[in-house]
């Protein structure tokens, strides 16, 4: 196995000012069920954009609208400057797509499936790099001689990833692309995304693997129940989000510090107390950015033996929105994948 080559020609992206994906006020209904509700999504050219949301949030539905597989009930959608409801074929020439549930022709071998995907793309006027494909087959350690029906889910996923990265496209739309891959192949996938980004290609990555998104993405959009919850540059979102501050205090000072912190953060804030093995008390609280200095002052006056201030991780950002109200939980939309 080798690493995917970094010597592929750098794609010369035409000077285009518009975003790779620009969605505004998107509404998609399936009968009476509203799968997407006034969704806005902007993916800037050349970025790697994470697309997150709990199961049934509407990610796959949104992706299918972007590919022109679904129509829309309201809103505007532009992918590479075009409307997928009108120009889906023209758009998809320049889009590589890996579906969450990979379906391939069971009677063909992996080699033949790749030939078909390359042939169809070329016949549609797109471009496909055979040399790059060979490198990717090697990098993903894919046995292309086997019939598809004998492939595991991970191997079917690899076929689609090879075809996606070997196609000379501007935009990659990847829906849970690593769900069947082993950790080694996940790393190879990460390298491929990095190379695509270095070539100026745009990546829209839908994933539940937060570490992967945190590592690969410049920006994220979080949706829930078909609505936008949060979007922006990852670094900025972290900066704006609450930090977690913890301190280890003696039993004598912990009570007073707890009272002071609750007074400072408000009665709704939770200050967690935990007794350590040596009988001391660990206090922990989620603190808004503007209150960090005052919280630290309170804790320092209590003479702590240990103080930690941790910025919000993507997991923190995300899990806030993952909490699902069982009573208000929605059923999946028709044809949705797990993340539809």
């Amino acid at each position: 196995m080798t690493n995917p080559s970094t010597q592929s020609p750098v794609r010369t992206t035409p000077a285009k000012t518009e975003d790779a994906v620009a969605v505004a006020g998107l509404v998609k209904n399936f009968g009476r069920f509203r799968a997407i509700d006034e969704l806005d999504l902007t993916v800037t050219r050349g970025s790697v954009h994470g697309f997150l949301g709990p199961n049934g949030a509407g990610k796959t539905t949104t992706i299918r609208v972007l590919l022109g597989l679904y129509g829309r009930d309201a809103g505007t959608v532009r992918v590479l400057g075009r409307d997928p409801a009108i120009d889906s074929a023209v758009i998809n020439r320049d889009v590589s797509y890996v579906a969450g549930e990979v379906a391939l022709w069971p009677t063909l071998t992996g080699r033949q499936a790749l030939d078909v995907l390359a042939g169809l793309r070329r016949s549609a006027g797109g471009h496909y790099d055979d040399r790059r494909e060979a490198e990717l087959i090697d990098a993903f350690a894919l046995d292309t001689g086997k019939r598809i029906r004998k492939y595991s889910k991970g191997n079917r996923q690899k076929v689609m990833l090879v075809a996606a990265f070997a196609a000379d496209t501007e935009l990659l739309i990847l829906d849970e692309p690593t769900s069947g891959l082993d950790p080694l192949m996940e790393r190879t996938f990460g390298e491929c995304v990095g190379q695509a980004s270095a070539q100026g290609r745009t990546v829209l990555l839908s994933s539940h693997i937060l570490g992967e998104v945190e590592q690969l993405c410049d920006a994220v959009t979080i949706i829930k129940d078909g609505r936008l919850v949060e979007t922006g540059e990852l670094s900025q979102m972290r900066h704006l989000a609450a930090s977690t501050i913890s301190a280890v205090l003696s039993e004598d000072t912990a009570d007073r510090a707890t009272t002071d912190l609750q007074g400072l953060l408000g009665t709704g804030a939770e200050v967690a107390r935990k007794t350590t093995s040596d009988g001391r008390i660990r206090l922990e609280a989620s603190v808004p950015r503007e209150s960090v200095d005052r919280v630290l002052q309170v804790l320092l006056t209590a003479h702590p033996t240990d103080v930690r201030c941790t910025p919000a991780s993507l997991e923190d950002l995300f899990l806030r929105h993952y909490k699902v109200d069982p009573a208000g939980g929605r059923s999946s939309s028709p044809g949705s994948g797990d993340g539809a």
Binding site: G68, N92, D94, A103, V116
Partner: protein
């Protein structure tokens, strides 16, 4: 120490859970096979009564068909004296045995190997069922399927016995039993093949090889009178048991013993087999490349095996009809009742034209089924998510369905031409060149009907994937109207609604009537509308 409450002991009826899952999973396929067969069986005896109420009126039919090599090959010798029950068992009994054997074979494979290919077997094992339960479930499901179908056949015969003098309860039970036991045997062959082969496709191939050998043994037995061979072939068991003639019920014990041997063979091979393993492997690796440059080329590559197998069946049927043409035309000339029936069915007054028209309808029915299946493949691709992958390569939305329509249109024409040419070639040896030309014209002349069915299929798939199944309604409706319309006294306006009822005698100089243009118009309207709708609507994977 033995634990009587262990899960293994608790699962005394451990096969019933997997069996219920198997039967429920395939319930639509089971109904699609059994309901039309039972429906056809229900109308056959009354039809014979209506056409040949007295034994004397059947003498020409019985002597002609009994002497003909082609009919002996297909149906076996016609038992004497030719009661209604004997005619039903001879003609319809053959269809029942062959069709139910194919059904049971396909389902037997699906119950075991198909369940492993699809992952259902894995799910069952994950729910606490053992590998042996999975096999036992397949055996129970096959027994229920075959037994249930046999009981239904017997029940229909018994229900008609009070109304048709020449039917007997012994014959009805015998026909039901022999149908059930034949399908049970092929269901078990399917299970055995599924245990031996590592894919459902290979298992079906093995099963059909057994079926072909059984058919060949029966054909040799029937044509050359080697009676002993009938006992060796499950397809010949009907002639051995002879319902409505000898009613040799004791023979059923022998047939059941053969089924028992096949079942034991399946258990011996399958009981200790690991999940998803098999002694016989299909060639799983290949370095072959596949250079396709269009969706049309891809569709043809994926569909070419279907075309070849359906064309082979069509060609064999055409050759059979050609072989029967000489004696059947002679029969029509001598037998006023049969000639009248054929004229009513086909609307033709020339006797040879009536026969070739009838043969053309049967072949067109086969080719129509091929065309509809091919077009409905677009819905299957959509459900499976394959269409999504094709469109994501930049292929225009209209192309995949248009490609399937093109394969159906050209494939059906090629199939009709091949079948027509082979039928005409054999007819030329039986009659003359004009008759051969007439045979060819009546077969190829059905192309507008197939086009109309193709158009209807495209329209329905285009409107919505879940509507696609309705494409079988015009096929089934037309088949019933054109084959049974006169016998069932359907009104004329309804009978002309059958797509297969519009082929003129081109050899006689007749020109295509309004019906042909209506069929072509239907195709020309439905095709673009269906493709247009398909390219605009949401594509919904299952």
């Amino acid at each position: 120490m033995r634990h009587d409450s262990s899960p293994r002991t608790l699962s005394v009826a451990s096969g019933t859970g997997p069996a219920r899952v198997a039967l429920r999973t395939h319930r639509r396929r089971i109904l699609a096979w059994t309901v039309p067969l039972l429906g056809l069986l229900a109308v056959v005896a009354p039809s014979y009564v209506s056409t040949y109420p007295r034994l004397s009126q059947r003498q020409h039919l019985i002597s002609s068909l009994g002497d003909n090599a082609a009919t002996r090959l297909l149906y076996g010798p016609l038992p004497q004296p030719g009661t209604i029950g004997q005619l039903v068992a001879w003609e319809m009994g053959t269809y029942l045995i062959v069709a139910s054997s194919i059904m049971a074979l396909l389902l037997g494979v699906s119950f075991v190997r198909g369940a492993e290919d699809s992952g259902i077997a894995e799910l069952l094992q994950a729910c606490g069922h053992t590998g042996a339960d999975r096999l036992r479930g397949g055996l129970v499901a096959t027994a229920v399927l075959a037994g249930g179908f046999g009981v239904a056949v017997a029940a229909l015969g018994l229900a008609e016995t009070p109304f048709v003098d020449e039917l007997t309860w012994q014959g009805a039970v015998g026909l039901g039993a022999v149908t059930g036991v034949s399908s049970l045997c092929f269901g078990l062959v399917g299970i055995l093949a599924g245990e031996i082969a590592d894919s459902a496709g290979l298992a079906k191939l093995l099963g059909f090889l057994v079926l072909a050998v059984a058919f060949a043994l029966r054909a040799v037995a029937n044509v050359h009178g080697v009676v002993a061979l009938r006992w060796l072939s499950p397809l010949g068991w009907k002639e051995a048991e002879a319902p409505y003639t000898h009613d040799r019920w004791w023979g059923l014990l022998i047939f059941l013993a053969v089924c028992g041997v096949v079942a034991v063979g399946g258990r011996l091979i399958g009981e200790d087999r690991e999940y998803a393993t098999a002694p016989l492997h299909e060639r799983a690796t290949s370095d072959e490349r596949l250079r396709v440059r269009s969706t049309l080329a891809l569709t043809w590559h994926l569909e070419r095996r279907r075309w070849l197998s359906w064309t082979a069946i069509g060609a064999a049927l055409a050759a059979l009809f050609g072989g029967m043409s000489g004696s059947l035309v002679q029969l029509l000339q001598q037998d006023a009742s049969t000639a009248d029936l054929m004229s009513k069915l086909t609307g033709e007054h020339r006797l040879d034209a009536a026969f070739f028209s009838f043969a053309g309808v049967l072949l067109a029915l086969l080719v129509g089924c091929y065309a509809v299946l091919t077009v409905l493949g677009a819905g299957v691709d959509e459900a499976d998510g394959l269409l999504e992958g094709v469109l994501a390569c930049g292929v225009a939305r209209r192309r995949p369905l248009a490609a399937r329509a093109a394969v159906a249109v050209v494939g059906s024409l090629a199939m009709l031409v091949v079948a027509g040419a082979i039928g005409a070639g054999v007819t030329a040896t039986q009659l003359d060149g004009t008759a051969a030309a007439r045979d060819f014209a009546y077969v190829v002349g059905q192309w507008p009907a197939v086009l109309a069915l193709t158009g209807a299929g495209v329209l329905l798939v285009g409107l919505r994937r879940t509507f696609a199944v309705a494409a079988w309604l015009p096929v089934a409706g037309s088949a019933v109207l054109v084959l049974m319309g006169s016998v069932l006294h359907a009104p004329h306006w309804l009978q002309v609604g059958a797509v297969f009822a519009h082929v003129p005698d081109y050899v006689d100089g007749s020109r295509p009537g309004t019906g042909v243009f209506v069929l072509l118009l239907c195709f020309l309207v439905c095709l673009p509308v269906g493709v247009g709708c398909h390219s605009r609507r949401d594509l919904l994977p299952s």
